[in-house]
């Protein structure tokens, strides 16, 4: 049986293999400290490809792509976020889950300082043999559960159950090589980008302010409303709208996005709506599922009820 010390050594194994797969993360959202709004975790899913030492491709969905072709000539990175599996003082809101945190985690301070709370146990994780171990680390107030892939020398998952945080890898494949073209901007990506832009432009063009489904009530009044659609899908009725983002009256949310989508479909959370620091309200009417994302503060229960009741019917 492997001990935690041996498993940690496996995470230092280099070079890492090239790997493709899916990264899924769950983070809790901030509330007002009194359990309001009700819990609504941020769930993100991305297809990824990684080629050592530093090439990445991520498809986050909805046309959001990340490509990094590592070039030492680029000089020092401007990134101010920690690399590898790490946890900041505002955990669980101040981290950005990513497959890199699980794959390139050898230098993680959280793991370097961790001690096992029990012996690792052998598990199967999405079809792969792995070791699960529960750790205590100074940077976390709760136990950290990790699953180590001893063959690849990577983490398959990390979870702090008490904090509602989890990220994991699945659908993994370890190809012998990944071509350069996988990490380059190309005509296929360019065409997909243009298609998304055209769809967004069509949404904006087809929804003038008068045709947007907007509440007739808003805290602080409607004078600062400058609503506009910015994303959606005409085929499904999906519609994402900025209500305003400028000159909000004092003590009102500083940004607001309203999203309409078909009921019982995964929450559509574009842009900062998926920031755990955003406050999010959900409700359904007879036709649609609604999401109202706010920055600064949530609506009170009374305000939310008035907003919902002021929405156009049908």
């Amino acid at each position: 049986m492997a001990g935690w010390t041996e498993l940690r050594e496996l995470l230092h194994r280099t070079p890492k293999p090239a790997v493709e797969g899916r990264h899924v993360s769950v983070q809790p959202r901030r509330d007002n400290g009194q359990g309001w709004p009700p819990a609504s975790p941020v769930r993100l899913s991305a297809r990824f490809a990684y080629r050592p030492p530093g090439d990445w491709f991520l498809d986050h969905g909805n046309g959001d792509i990340t490509i990094e072709a590592y070039d030492p000539a680029d000089g020092p990175h401007a990134d101010d976020s920690p690399s590898g599996l790490d946890f900041g003082p505002q955990f669980p809101w101040d981290l950005a889950p990513s497959p890199e945190r699980l794959i390139s985690c050898a230098d993680s301070p959280a793991l370097a300082e961790a001690t096992a709370l029990a012996e690792p146990t052998n598990v199967r994780h999405h079809g792969r043999d792995a070791w699960a171990v529960t750790l205590r680390t100074p940077s976390l107030p709760y136990p950290l559960h990790v699953v180590v892939d001893p063959t690849a020398g990577i983490l398959l998952s990390a979870e702090v159950e008490e904090a509602g945080y989890r990220e994991e890898l699945s659908e993994l494949d370890f190809p012998a090589r990944l071509p350069d073209s996988r990490f380059e901007w190309n005509d296929v990506l360019e065409a997909a980008e243009k298609a998304h832009q055209i769809r967004r432009d069509q949404i904006v063009a087809s929804h003038g302010e008068r045709t947007l489904p907007l509440p007739a009530f808003w805290p602080g009044g409607l004078d600062h409303f400058e609503p506009k659609a910015f994303d959606g899908d005409p085929a499904t009725g999906l519609l994402a709208m900025d209500l305003y983002n400028d000159n909000a009256p004092a003590d009102t949310p500083t940004m607001a996005v309203l999203i309409r989508q078909r009921p019982d479909t995964p929450f559509f959370e574009p842009g900062w709506v998926a920031d755990p620091e955003a406050f999010v309200h959900h409700w359904k009417d007879s036709t649609w599922q609604w999401t109202l994302a706010l920055w600064g503060r949530p609506l009170t229960p009374e305000e939310l009820e008035r907003v919902i009741n002021s929405m156009p019917k049908g």
């Binding site: 990340t66 401007a78 910015f230 983002n245 998926a274």
Partner: protein
């Protein structure tokens, strides 16, 4: 009465004056040459405005000129004084491409930066000072869509502050890459990663916004650049602090990681 001298050749003197955009009206120029002991002919021209002779000047400032008050020339921005003196403004030393600078402003959220107001001012000046003829209030807003998105929206603000309500505005857009300890680059010349390159000049109106993809590369700092070019009611232009038409707004730095995009905690300002 202001008096200034520009060292140049006599032949080029009139061309220099003619090339100084933003100043209209008759400008008396007296050119002569002086022979130095080393035998070199050095030409001078002297600019000496006639008393009470009016000159129109278009410039940009972080504060408007007061109405119904004569503002002494010493109270104008240095770039406006340079224009009045018949000199081309000195191009400011900036790290951003082509002299874009942060125009103060604030970041009310992690995703929004709004510049301070800047005023495009056409003023009627004489030896006593300047009076505003037309003033247009300008600003930009940078709205980063955030999280996994690599888009930002830039909104242009332009409204009458005083004088005629009619003016024309155009915008020019560019995307910048903040390179640590080095001269910045533009997104489209830095990497081929889908970043949309420069756009414009194109007509712009108040509260118009553009949506641009700033590229798919993570672990980098990007910023938008917008030049707002104002043409006043009489057809003259507002000249920026680099001696060229328009106000060059540098946006707030945007920190891009693999899965998160938001405004950086601090920003370069182009200086």
């Amino acid at each position: 009465m202001s008096r200034s001298h520009v060292r140049s050749t006599a032949v080029a003197a009139s061309a220099v004056v003619a090339a100084v955009a933003g100043v209209t009206g008759a400008v008396p120029v007296h050119a002569h040459t002086t022979q130095y002991s080393d035998g070199k002919d050095v030409g001078y021209f002297a600019y000496q405005p006639l008393a009470k002779q009016n000159r129109m000047v278009g410039f940009l400032s972080d504060r408007p000129l007061p109405e119904n008050v004569v503002t002494p020339v010493s109270g104008l921005p240095s770039s406006a004084r340079e224009l009045l003196a018949g000199r081309s403004a000195v191009t400011p030393q900036t790290d951003t491409p082509r002299g874009y600078k942060l125009r103060k402003g604030n970041t009310p959220t992690n995703y929004i930066y709004k510049s301070a107001d800047v005023y495009a001012i056409e003023a009627d000046c004489d030896s006593d000072g300047c009076r505003p003829v037309q003033q247009v209030k300008l600003a930009i807003k940078e709205y980063v869509r955030g999280r996994t998105s690599k888009n930002w929206e830039i909104t242009f603000y332009a409204s009458r502050y005083s004088g005629p309500s009619h003016f024309h505005m155009e915008y020019y857009y560019e995307c910048g890459v903040n390179i640590p300890n080095a001269k910045d680059k533009t997104c489209s010349t830095w990497k081929h990663d889908g970043a949309q390159g420069h756009a414009g000049p194109a007509t712009a109106v108040n509260k118009q916004y553009i949506v641009k993809n700033f590229g798919k590369t993570p672990v980098v700092t990007k910023f938008p650049m917008i030049n707002l070019l104002v043409t006043f009611n009489d057809g003259s232009e507002a000249i920026g602090d680099d001696g060229k038409p328009g106000e060059k707004f540098r946006g707030w730095d945007v920190c891009v990681t693999k899965t998160t995009t938001k405004l950086c905690h601090s920003t370069g300002d182009g200086s």
